[in-house]
């Protein structure tokens, strides 16, 4: 593959108004994109213009503002379809984000498999975010299905050799994160999903931490469902995408009831709208969806191969700097890394480090990263996580390293 065009990072930086601020007297160095990304000007303008010009409810209105709002809202399904490289824009369901998508799936997939029965299994992994654990636990409580876990090794790589043992005739669903938000491990999705397909299981990809960084076309990643959060993809809070194969979505019952998701309502019986509207009950987050459209166009315009290459280089720089420092332990040694680097400082709790780093203008995350089972496996209460976005550059990496030095001075 030819090298992608280098990113024009300084141009990108100028597009993020929030980066242009001081924190405790220092330039803001934002290394917490895995929690939520900053938003480019075009997204801010999209949201603002909805409220300034096209502020109306969607779908049911005949008047001009409502027609404009509806057209802009529905246009985002087409933008998302292009973003994913798929064809059918009715495969795009708007949710609040990955969490809501997973809950929707956990509550409606029974319609596909003809109901869950005791003994059925859902396979997840030890690297998952709580959003891909708790919905299945709740489903397990109400249906008796079992949640099985593909373990990871000390390098925080999934133990793929266990697949044969764990993927069996009982496996109905395999739901896996593409990239671990706690460690940065990029999982071998092809191998996991091909095992799943082998037993006829439904495959779900949590693309929360891959969508902002790489191409996630379902044509390449052969899966049944895929979901990501807009707010981690340079879009507003409140809107995310659940993509699913049309024939599957068509067979699933609705989840939430209310306006917009119905065809007819009577007190005796109601009939439901077509896919995807049957999954979008009530007034949707119109402005956030329209903002998400702008975000996906922004990301597409940067050239995703360039983003991937640029961020991989930043992560390599961070890793090699950290490896040179004494008393720094990098957590996990994934073969392919994206999104972030997690580490700990000997004798210093991550929260103390985070406070001192923030004092130096460096925003990172300290904690369990909503991956408590993984933290338990690693025997760590928390880690420090530096995650990257399109606007980060070498000077951010240097500021990160300096701020770690400052932490060590305080605790010297």
């Amino acid at each position: 593959m030819a090298n992608p065009e280098p990113l024009n990072v300084s141009d990108l930086q100028r597009q993020f108004p929030a980066l242009d601020q001081q924190v405790h007297g220092h330039r803001l160095v934002y290394l917490d994109s895995a929690a939520t990304t900053q938003k480019p000007q075009s997204v801010l303008e999209a949201v603002d213009s909805v409220y300034r010009k096209d502020c109306a409810n969607v779908h049911r209105g005949v008047h001009t503002l409502s027609e404009r709002a509806t057209a802009r809202y529905e246009e985002v399904r087409k933008i998302a379809t292009r973003f994913l490289g798929t064809e059918d824009s009715q495969e795009i369901v708007f949710t609040r984000g990955v969490t809501e998508s997973m809950n929707l799936l956990a509550n409606t997939l029974s319609g596909l498999v003809g109901g869950f029965k005791e003994g059925d299994e859902v396979l997840i992994t030890e690297l998952e975010h709580h959003a891909n654990i708790v919905p299945w636990q709740l489903l397990s409580q109400s249906t008796g299905i079992r949640v099985k876990v593909l373990p990871c090794d000390d390098a925080c790589e999934l133990v793929l050799d266990d697949l044969d043992k764990l993927v069996t005739e009982k496996t109905r669903i395999v739901s896996v994160g593409h990239v671990s938000n706690a460690i940065g491990t990029m999982n071998d999705i092809d191998r996991i999903f091909s095992a799943a397909r082998g037993v006829g299981a439904i495959t779900i990809l949590d693309a929360a931490q891959s969508a902002p960084h790489m191409d996630i076309s379902p044509k390449k990643i052969d899966c049944d469902f895929l979901t990501f959060s807009g707010h981690k993809t340079y879009g507003p809070t409140g809107a995310g995408i659940l993509w699913g194969k049309r024939e599957l979505l068509d067979q699933m019952p609705p989840w939430q009831g209310g306006g917009d998701m119905i065809r007819t309502v009577s007190f005796e019986e109601s009939t439901y709208a077509e896919t995807p509207w049957k999954f979008e009950a009530g007034t949707p987050d119109i402005a956030a969806v329209i903002g998400l459209g702008a975000a996906l166009e922004f990301l597409d315009s940067t050239g995703r191969p360039s983003v991937e290459a640029h961020e991989a280089e930043l992560l390599r720089m961070i890793e090699s700097h950290l490896m040179e420092m004494e008393g720094v332990q990098i957590v996990g040694k994934p073969a392919t890394r994206a999104c972030c680097v997690s580490f700990t400082l000997d004798g210093i709790h991550p929260h103390d480090a985070a406070t001192i780093m923030d004092q130096n203008g460096v925003a990172i995350r300290a904690g369990h990263h909503c991956a408590m089972p993984l933290m338990k496996r690693l025997g760590l209460p928390a880690t420090i996580r530096a995650s990257v976005g399109v606007h980060n550059d070498q000077s951010d990496v240097e500021a990160l390293i300096q701020s770690i030095q400052a932490v060590r001075e305080i605790f010297a």
């Binding site: 779908h59 005949v62 509806t70 065809r263 007819t264 709208a273």
Partner: protein
């Protein structure tokens, strides 16, 4: 208001008030129901298709707006006596004109359809004009599902 006069031409008002071929067609051998859940328009279309594939009779009943009712009425006048294939062709050109995909003029014998051209500027009303046509196609497909404009 001139644009409104263009949308609501005399012919549309006339057909909506006195729809042709209105009332259940007892002799029909095909039928379908269509609805537009977003505005509540409902239409039933009945067709008598002869063995050689000619739509010899078309009837309808509707609870719908002027544009939908007039569209259904003019549909019946236009397609009655046409071969099924020809009817499908007319559906295609009607559809692409009212959705704004094509701006080709209708051939002289279809000039009546011209009155719906203005609809393309009112996206939420395009479905009103196309619902009867979609419903007719549904009837010809012998599908049991309702036609819908979602």
């Amino acid at each position: 208001m001139s644009s409104m006069r263009e949308l609501y031409q005399e012919m549309i008002i006339d057909h909506s008030r006195s729809p042709r071929n209105h009332g259940k067609l007892q002799s029909a051998n095909l039928e379908a129901r269509g609805n537009n859940p977003l505005c509540g328009d409902e239409i039933d279309m009945q067709v008598l298709r002869s063995e050689d594939g000619v739509l010899s009779e078309i009837g309808f009943e509707a609870t719908a707006c002027a544009i939908c009712t007039a569209s259904a009425s003019i549909l019946t006048e236009t397609l009655k006596g046409k071969a099924e294939n020809e009817a499908r062709g007319i559906f295609e050109s009607f559809h692409s004109t009212v959705t704004g995909e094509s701006s080709a003029a209708y051939p002289p014998e279809l000039m009546k359809l011209e009155v719906f051209t203005g609809v393309k500027d009112y996206p939420s009303r395009v479905k009103c004009a196309t619902l009867p046509w979609h419903t007719l196609m549904q009837a010809l497909e012998e599908k049991s599902e309702e036609a819908s404009t979602e």
